[in-house]
Amino acid sequence: MKPASYLLLGAALLGLSSTTQAQQLSGAGASFPAPLYQRWGVEYNKVNPGVQVNYQSVGSGAGVKNFTAGIVDFGASDAAMSDAEIAKVANGVVMIPATAGEVVYAYNLPGVKSLNLPREAMAGIYLGTITKWNDPVIAKANEGVTLPDLPIQVASRSDGSGTTYIFTQHLSAISKEFADKIGTDKSVTFPVGVGGKGNDGVTALIKQSPGAIGYVEYGYAKLNGLAMANLENKAGKFIAPGGESGAATLANVVMPENLRVWPVDPEGAGDYPIASFTWLLLYKKYDDAAKLKALKDFVTYGLTTGQGFADELGYIPLPAPVVDKAKAALATIE
C-alpha cells in the first residue's frame, strides 16, 4: 500500500469512529405507524445528525415484548399496553400517542364508485349473515346504485395485527352478535372469507376478485387506489374516510390521565367511525442521561414538526390538545 492509501484508510476509520459516536436510539413495534416513524428518523437525522433512530417494524405484540425485556430504547403499539403488561416493566411506562389512523372497508365492485355501508352490513358481512352484494340491507343504503348479484368475498388479516384489533373493537361495540361470536383481538377467527398476510396480502385479495371486500389501513388503501366505502357512524351519517373526518373523530376524544383511549364508537355527526391512536412506549426512567435527552428531543420533534408528514403518508395528524398532553407526559420522564 502506498502512504496515500494509508492516509485514506485512516480517514475512513476516523469517519467510521465518529459516526459510531452518534447517539443511537433503537425502537421496535407496530408495523402500522412504521413508515411515519421511519420517516421521522430520516428527517430528524438531517436536522440533528448526532442522533440515529432505528425503528424495526416487528408488530405491536413483539414490540411490547421487546420493550418489556428492555432490549430497545422505546416500543410502539397499536393496542397501547394493558395494565397487566405495564406492571411487568420495572422502570415504569409512559404511553405517548404519536399519530393516528383509520381502518377502511376497501372493496372491488366494477362500476360502483361510491358505496354506503350501514352498521348492520358492516357487522353482517364479517359474521357471514350478509352474503350477496344486492342484499336488501346494503341496497337500502345505496339508492340509485345498481348493486350486482355477486357473492361477497370477504378478506381479512391472517396475521395478528393492530388493524384487526381496532376493526374488531369497533364491530364489537356496534353489534352484540359480533361481540358474542367473534370478539376483539389482534387475531380473531372470522366465520367467512379468506385471510391475507399483511396489508399487502389483503390488498391483493381485494384487487384480484370482483366482489371482494376487506379491511385495511387508510394510508395503504389510498396508496393502492382501492375504492373505500362510506361507513355509517353512531349519528347515522355515512362518512367517507380521510384526513378531515378522522381529525373530527380524534378532536372529540377525551384523553384520560394515562393517555390510553380508543374512540370505539365516536358520537359526532361528522366522525369517521373506525379510527385509533397508536402509541410510543417509553420508560418512566432512563439511566443514560444523553440517551434520554436524545429520545425526548426526537419524540418532541415527532409530535411537532413530524406531524406535518402524517397527512401525505395517510395518517391523521394529532389534534393540538392531544399534542399538549403528550408533551406534558413526555416531560415527566426522568
Binding site: S158, S187, G196
Partner: protein
Amino acid sequence: MPENNPDSRAIAEVRVGPDLFHVLCWVASAAAVATLGWIVYEIVSGAWPAIQKFGFGFLTSSSWVPNRENFGVFPFIVGTAVSSLIAILLAFPLGLAIAIFLSENFLPLPVRQFVRFVIEMLAAIPSVVYGLWGIFVVIPIIKAFGDWAVVHLKGIPLFEGPAYGNSMLTASVVLALMILPTLTAISRNALTAVPKTLREGAYALGATRWEAILGVILPTAAPGVVAATILALGRAMGETMAVAMLIGNSSRLSWSLLSPGGTLAGLLANQFGEADGLQVNSLMFAALILVVITLFVNVAGELVLRYTQNQTAGIR
C-alpha cells in the same frame, strides 16, 4: 505407490498426537445432534402449558380462536397433509418424467444440461418470490378454473363452490413447482447411477428402449426415486411463506379444493409475531406437531428406502 513418494512420509510424520481433524469432525457432528435436541427441548417446554391444558384434544379440535383461548389444530394438520400430498401427486409424474428424459440420450447433451440447469435453478428461487408469483399468476388461473369447475363439475365435492383464488389448490400447485427440482435432481442422479452393464444387458436380451427403462432401469433406481419423493414431501410440509401467502389461511374444514385452507407452518408464520400468553404456548404445540409429522415422514422414508434397497440389491 505411497512408499516411493517422499511427501506422503512427511505427512505421516506430522500426524502424531491427537488427531485434530478427528476431534473437529466429532465436535461438529455432536453439535448438530445437540442443536436438534435443544430445539426440541425448547419447543416442548414452550408448548408445555398448552399440552397440559388441551392434551390430545388439541389434535382433534377444529376451533382456533385466539381471543377465546380456544385452540385446536385439526384443520391445519389436514391442510398440511392435503396440500403436500396434492403437490406430490402433481410433481411426481412430472419430476420422474423429466428425470428419465434427462438421463436418456433423447436429445444432445448440451440441451439436456441446459434443461437440467434451468430446473435446478427453480430451487434457488426464494419462497417469497414463489408466493408473489403465485398471487399474480397462479391465482387468476386457478380462479378462472374454479369458476368453470363449479359450474361444469357440479356434484363433485372437491370442486364445490364458491371458488376462491386463495385456495388449497393454488397453494398445492405452487408447492408442486417448488418441490419439482428436489424430485427431479435426486431421481436423475439415481437413474444415471444405474450400471451401464444392466442397460446393455437388457438391450442384449432384445428389450426395446421403453422396456429397458420401465423393466430394468426404473426398478433399479427405485430407492433413489423413493428418497427423492420423501425429501420433496418433507419440503412441501415445512414450506411456509409461499403457502401463507396463497392458501387463504382459514381454519374452516372443507372438502372443496377451491376453498381456503391452512397449514401448520402457515399458522406459525401468521400468528407468532403478535401472539402472547396461551396463544404462544399453543403455537409451540403446533410447531411440535409439525416436527413430529416431518420426523415421522423421514423415518417412514428411510424404512421404505432400506426395504427397496434390499429388494434391488441382487441386481446391482
